[in-house]
């Protein structure tokens, strides 16, 4: 999609355009080709969930996949992770097809999925010891990753003793410890409260800036997608199709003042058009069937 002309509603500043030109010079990390997925379950007709998805991610790119709930975002990322089989099409990592899960594709789940029987440090060591790295080396590495995510003091705590944001930082450290070629994140901050989520977004951007990371990030939150991404892949629902791949015109480095900047708002409006959120208020007939149950003098507005 990077070769298609810029849509007129996205006015890129020269700096942003130059950045995208640079990104496109980089090698392609992940290629998804004509990917389709049909779920067949007993007693239900087969369901086409993903329809002919094709895109690629460049090295060090931050790609967000945005779509309404149930459009197949998780299915897509799980196929890329190798946790689910595609019905047709292929996923290539540096031109090698992937079939099963592997440590070169790190995954961060919405529900953290930390191993509750291991301490924070042992969780981060897990992938390394599985790979046969001696314990003392894995431990030294784990300590480095933990200090990178600001949890050096908690290395001996168990996951259940941490807050949601801290758990997710451990999960990120655990995935990074394998030095993955690409980091797959499935709505990682969706379960966090608003303040923690904002912190984690800033924190992830900082990490991405300083560590050699290529990120495929799934979200249903428009602000999050615009704030974090280089490009936004918009999925439409039923079946999941690529509605558009937007080159994010908001310049980097990002900050929260940009939320009200013209490029941010233009992108936001475009996303809204693409995804058509069902708003009750836009269609008064959705509300009119609630009869008044209070006295007519009871005016709350």
């Amino acid at each position: 999609m990077s070769s298609s002309p810029l849509p007129s509603y996205l006015e890129q500043s020269p700096e942003v355009a130059a950045r995208f030109a640079r990104i496109q010079q980089r090698p392609i990390t992940l290629t998804v080709q004509n990917l389709s997925k049909t779920f067949t379950a007993p007693n239900t007709p087969p369901r086409l969930t993903l329809d002919n998805i094709s895109f690629h991610v460049h090295h060090r790119e931050f790609l967000c996949v945005l779509g309404p709930s149930g459009c197949g975002k998780s299915t897509l990322i799980r196929i890329i992770a190798g946790l689910e089989q595609a019905s047709s099409g292929s996923v290539l990592l540096y031109n090698k097809p992937v079939q099963s899960p592997g440590p070169e594709r790190g995954m961060v789940f919405q529900n953290y999925s930390l191993f509750p029987w291991l301490t924070v440090k042992e969780n981060v060591m897990f992938g390394r010891t599985i790979a046969g790295i001696p314990d003392f080396l894995a431990e030294a590495e784990a300590r480095q990753w933990l200090s990178l995510v600001g949890l050096a003091d908690y290395e001996n705590a168990y996951p259940h003793q941490l807050s949601g944001g801290m758990k997710q930082r451990v999960a990120i450290a655990r995935a990074l410890a394998n030095k993955p070629r690409i980091l797959l994140m499935d709505e990682p901050f969706a379960a966090l409260d608003a303040q923690t989520r904002a912190q984690m977004q800033d924190y992830l951007l900082e990490l991405w800036r300083k560590v050699d990371l290529t990120i495929l990030f799934i979200t249903h939150d428009f602000d999050e997608a615009i704030y974090l991404s280089d490009r936004i892949l918009v999925l439409s629902a039923n079946p999941g199709r690529i509605a558009e791949i937007i080159q994010n015109p908001v310049p980097r480095p990002r900050n929260r003042q940009q939320f009200t900047s013209p490029p941010f708002l233009a992108t936001y409006n475009r996303l809204q058009e693409l995804i058509h959120p069902v708003s009750l208020l836009q269609n008064p007939s959705n509300l009119s069937n609630i009869p008044r149950l209070t006295h007519t003098t009871d005016q709350v507005e």
Binding site: R105, F109, S113, A157
Partner: protein, 346 residues
């Protein structure tokens, strides 16, 4: 703020907990004491203290209340001195203090006949039967159950027939066990095995199947191979639940003890109880029964506490006496499996 005592599903105020635990034992004890010591509660017999002129009576003899009254009535009519007696309970309900005394005596009095086992020898024999039955069952049942849980083909191949055999009561195999294994300990261990094993495979398989699949997926994305999955993820993930299962299964094994010990040459605590009943020393029968209860209860409490020490991530903030003791022994070493202090953030 005053909290209500009866709040559905809400945890109990902690200072009530020990009181209620004591009460739970005290209540039946009080009931027992009431029936033993309050003369007008139940007491269907009369214990003769003075036979009077009734020659067919003897001192300390027990007699039904109605018979006693009619005999006295008759004596009065005939102008003889009536017998005297106090209300009494049947011989199979001794009073608490009698059992308490028997408790002490049962461990200090030698058996009535030479060659018969002491109470503690009987108990020890029973414990060994349970141990070996449960051990052999777990030796096969634990790995088989886990494999059934992890691999559906193995489950399909084994579980239906196990489900079928499970409905055959273990004691039904008694005669066969004796024919094959002789009359001593082997058939008894076999009965405990049969009573435990089939349930065990199904329970363990079910626990294994309920492993949080998220964790399996997380492990796969971290590069775990199929072979590593079992030892590095599945078993640690289900270990606390397996431990709980084993605790409950051990309790079940105990319930097969008495039947098992009836098979072949009666032995262990069952033999002791039967002998004492034969001698009509019912105090000792109660002692033996209560001892079984105490051993089971104490074992269970210790295993419960040990579980909290072994799996602190599962039992979260519950305190473990064994765990605290272990930490106290080695204050400078924080072992990975025991409760740790969380450092405060900077």
């Amino acid at each position: 703020m005053k909290t209500r005592f009866f709040r559905p599903f809400r945890p109990l105020d902690p200072h009530w907990s020990p009181l209620l635990t004591i009460g739970s034992f005290l209540l039946p004890l009080l009931l027992w004491a009431a029936f033993s010591y309050i003369p007008w509660l139940w007491h269907p017999y009369v214990k003769i203290t003075d036979p009077g002129s009734l020659t067919f009576l003897q001192k300390n003899m027990l007699m039904k209340k109605a018979d006693f009254n009619s005999a006295n009535q008759k004596a009065i009519v005939e102008g003889k001195t009536p017998a005297k007696g106090i209300p009494a309970n049947p011989i199979f309900l001794p009073a608490p203090h009698e059992v308490a005394i028997a408790f002490y005596k049962a461990f200090t009095t030698p058996p009535r006949r030479p060659g018969e086992p002491w109470l503690h020898e009987s108990l020890w024999h029973s414990i060994q039967i349970i141990f070996w039955g449960f051990f052999y069952s777990s030796l096969i049942g634990l790995p088989l159950g886990i494999l059934c849980g992890v691999y559906p083909p193995i489950a399909r191949l084994t579980e239906p027939v196990i489900d079928f055999i499970r409905y055959m009561p273990a004691p039904a195999f008694g005669a066969l066990a004796v024919a094959i294994l002789g009359i001593y300990d082997a058939p008894k261990i076999a009965i405990i095995f049969i009573g435990t094993f089939f349930q065990q495979v199904l329970v363990i398989a079910n626990t294994t199947r309920n492993v949080e699949y998220n964790l399996i997926e997380a492990a796969l994305t971290l590069g775990t191979s199929q072979r590593q999955l079992l030892s590095r993820v599945v078993i640690p993930a289900i270990a606390p639940n397996l431990y709980q299962d084993m605790r409950i299964l051990l309790g079940w094994a105990w319930t097969y003890l008495i039947v098992a010990e009836y098979i072949g040459a009666s032995s262990g605590i069952t033999f002791f109880i039967n002998q004492q009943a034969k001698y009509r020393i019912y105090d000792n029968v109660y002692v033996a029964i209560i001892m079984i209860g105490i051993i089971g209860f104490v074992t269970d409490r210790v295993l419960d506490d040990l579980g909290k020490a072994l799996f602190p991530w599962h039992f979260r903030d519950s305190r473990s006496i064994i765990g605290s003791f272990y930490n106290w022994l080695k204050p400078n070493y924080v072992p990975r499996n025991f409760p740790i202090r969380v450092p405060s953030s900077k």
